[in-house]
Amino acid sequence: MKFLSEYRDQKAAEQLAQAIRAKVTRPWTIMEICGGQTYTIVKSGLEDLLPREITLVHGPGCPVCVTPIELIDKAVAIAQRPDVIFSSFGDMLRVPGSSKSLFDVKAEGADVRIVYSPLDALKLAKTNPERQVVFFAVGFETTAPANAMAAWQADHDSVENFSLLVSHVLVPPAMQALLSSENCVVQGFLAAGHVCTVMGYEEYIPIAARYKVPIVVTGFEPLDLLEGILMTVTQLEEGRHEVENQYSRAVRREGNRPAQERIAEVFEITPRQWRGLGEIPASGFQLRGRFQKYDANLRFPSSGEPAHESPECIAGLILQGIKKPHDCPAFAVKCTPENPLGAPMVSSEGACAAYYHYGRRQTHDVHTELPSPASR
């Protein structure tokens, strides 16, 4: 397939892997920021091609994983209201809140719907004027333009029964938080290509300089990742720490200006709680000015029940790259995609779920609790 099969070619992959092997002289730890990249790495078995010296750690770029539990609880509470149609991207539905997930309340009768675009949610609002339609606006800079557009369009069309439960987060502040941590093991970054498609990569230049880490904007296909790793390793071996762009077929230095303008019109920067990481200053978006009337957080005041996480989940350490899913005693034993203790076991982009589905080494005897065979 055009623009896909070229980036999954075995010969080219082997050549890049060889180039990486030729370049590496000592151990390096590289973090891929985005969950979509983690997914490709485990799905294509890419680590099999890398030399031992290279350790990939999986970053916090999974919107499902970092959305705070308080907000999941809030979403669940709003979805349970009889006057509400709650709409969300699919993989938010299984994320466990303090006691329930959106799937749980859907089964109990709440009107929860999977949509592929916030504009579809807006359409729902228009066709159900007697109901309140709430969209769970999560994600990084990648989904921000579409969510901003939904609010803008609602305002333009004077749709009043629509609102957004916003939990938008930003990549650069999270990278800085990781790099400032005493435990930081990361020596180079593969920046998230799609985030940079929207935002460009100028904001990463001061980070690379300040923390002396190479940052390579990288795409999502296996060859993209191999090339991104090669570029990062080359910088590390040569003692450079620059921002480079592997994903030049989609990313320009300045990004997508019209999308940025729409984001800036609708959202303003705010501190955000990150699940597993805590509060990071200036690390998210909230609705601004006249768009605050579409803030579901304000429209549906909280009941205020305190949230509580499963004490066994080490999601915070996983998301910082300090531990791998295998290192968690609950992994694939108490914590499975059917019964996740924490968010990284939910989305296919979450490191734990990705490891569970695709990355479990054959030496690990974790198949003893296979679910019973499904019958038709």
Partner: protein, 389 residues
């Protein structure tokens, strides 16, 4: 009534309007409308001697069976939304699904039952379309629909039409007889006699079509490309449009199975790749037999448009449902012969070998990716959920 004469009074209820463009509750009430529905829609479509008796059940002839033949019996329910989708509708799906379940037992499909649960308000025209498709699919598969039932539920309590079909087929005496489940239950795999040529004490061949007969060394063949049905359904649900529309692959696969049996191929196992797709089916077999199934991603055919849709929707085609595809396990030495046979049959002309069965690691499906890495292909957890970005 002082004068003792009974007062005469007449009922003047309006004559009930006979609905003929939509299903009403009375269509399931067993009265006049039920009969009209049977007379006007079901009987004309499915007419055959057994059904035409209009008895409580069908009494069926089992003529011409060779001694030692056995019955195969299966049931399946169909709740698909939308009812009508590119390439088919719930009607042909309900026939083909059960026909294929019989075919996977190595059984020639003969008779079907059909239970309809209709939702009040369903357009009669939709029902007619569905029934016509059922009739066409049944005729094509060579099965007779010999008994049925209709119920109507209140509006909002159903999803238009639910259909259950049960099917009876015959496993001919030459087609592999000993119950594989018995063999697997009685003996661990490594203690079981090798199958090829082995005879049970009573002189019957130790052949059985089923997961229990899968052996290390088997080749894994699939009968065509993956994911068409699931993506055809999703594309309607999500309002996706493609340059060339993706049609469901719903079809009877019995002709392909029959050709394999007629050619004397030693079939170890047949499985249709319905809900949960190839990945789920293979995981079930690998788990049942404590074997490793090794696949090569580059060999697994997925249509370009299906693959594109999967990329957009964040799905993995290995887990997407098919309704006219099956996997067949045969000894490596017979793989080429099996492929030759399958490629001559319309429904399986795109058959391809995608992998093999190995001894270890047990209960595992491993896929070598296009770039040469390996990954475990796991059982699906819950529904495949579209990803955020």
């Amino acid at each position: 009534m002082a004068d003792g004469k009974p007062t005469t009074f007449t009922l003047s209820c309006p004559v009930p309007r006979v609905a003929d463009d939509r299903i009403v509750l009375a269509h399931g009430g067993g009265g006049r409308l039920t009969h009209q529905l049977i007379e006007k829609i079901f009987l004309p479509a499915f007419s055959n001697p057994a059904l035409d008796q209009r008895h409580d059940g069908a009494v069926l002839p089992l003529d011409g069976l060779t001694p030692g033949s056995r019955l195969a019996f299966t049931t399946d329910s169909f709740v698909v939304r939308p009812l009508i989708f590119p390439g088919g509708n719930i009607g042909d799906l309900a026939v083909n699904g059960t026909v294929n379940d019989l075919a996977m037992c190595g059984a020639r499909p003969l008779f079907l039952s059909a239970g309809f649960i209709l939702e009040e308000g369903l357009e009669m025209e939709t029902l007619r379309t569905v029934v016509t498709s059922m009739q066409e699919a049944a005729a094509k598969a060579g099965v007779q629909l010999v008994t049925g039932d209709t119920k109507v539920v209140d509006k909002g309590k159903g999803d238009g039409i639910f259909i259950n079909t049960s099917g009876i087929g015959v496993v001919e005496s030459g087609a592999g007889l000993i119950n594989g489940f018995e063999r697997a239950r009685l003996q661990p795999r490594h203690q079981q006699p090798r199958k090829t040529g082995a005879l049970a004490p009573e002189g019957r061949p130790l052949a059985a079509i089923g997961p229990a007969s899968v052996e290390p060394g088997d080749a894994v063949i699939i009968s065509g490309d993956l994911g068409r049905h699931g993506i055809a359904i999703l594309s309607v649900r999500e309002g996706l449009e493609f340059e060339s529309p993706i049609l469901s692959d719903t079809a009877s696969v019995w002709p392909a199975v029959e050709a394999l049996l007629n050619a004397g191929i030693e079939i170890h196992c047949l499985r249709d790749l319905t809900r949960g797709g190839l990945a789920t089916t293979l995981n079930e077999i690998a788990g049942d037999r404590n074997v490793c199934i090794k696949l090569e991603e580059a060999l697994i055919p997925v249509d370009e448009v299906v693959e594109g849709a999967c990329e957009i929707l964040g799905l993995d085609p290995l887990y997407v449902a098919n309704e006219g595809r099956f996997a067949v396990f045969v000894p490596e030495a017979q793989a080429n012969a099996a492929l030759d046979v399958l490629k001559k049959v319309e429904v399986s002309r795109a058959s391809v070998r995608i992998g093999k069965v190995e001894e270890t690691p047990g209960r595992t499906v491993v896929l070598q990716s296009r770039i040469g890495g390996n990954r475990v292909v796991d059982m699906l957890s819950g529904e495949q959920l579209p990803r955020i970005c």
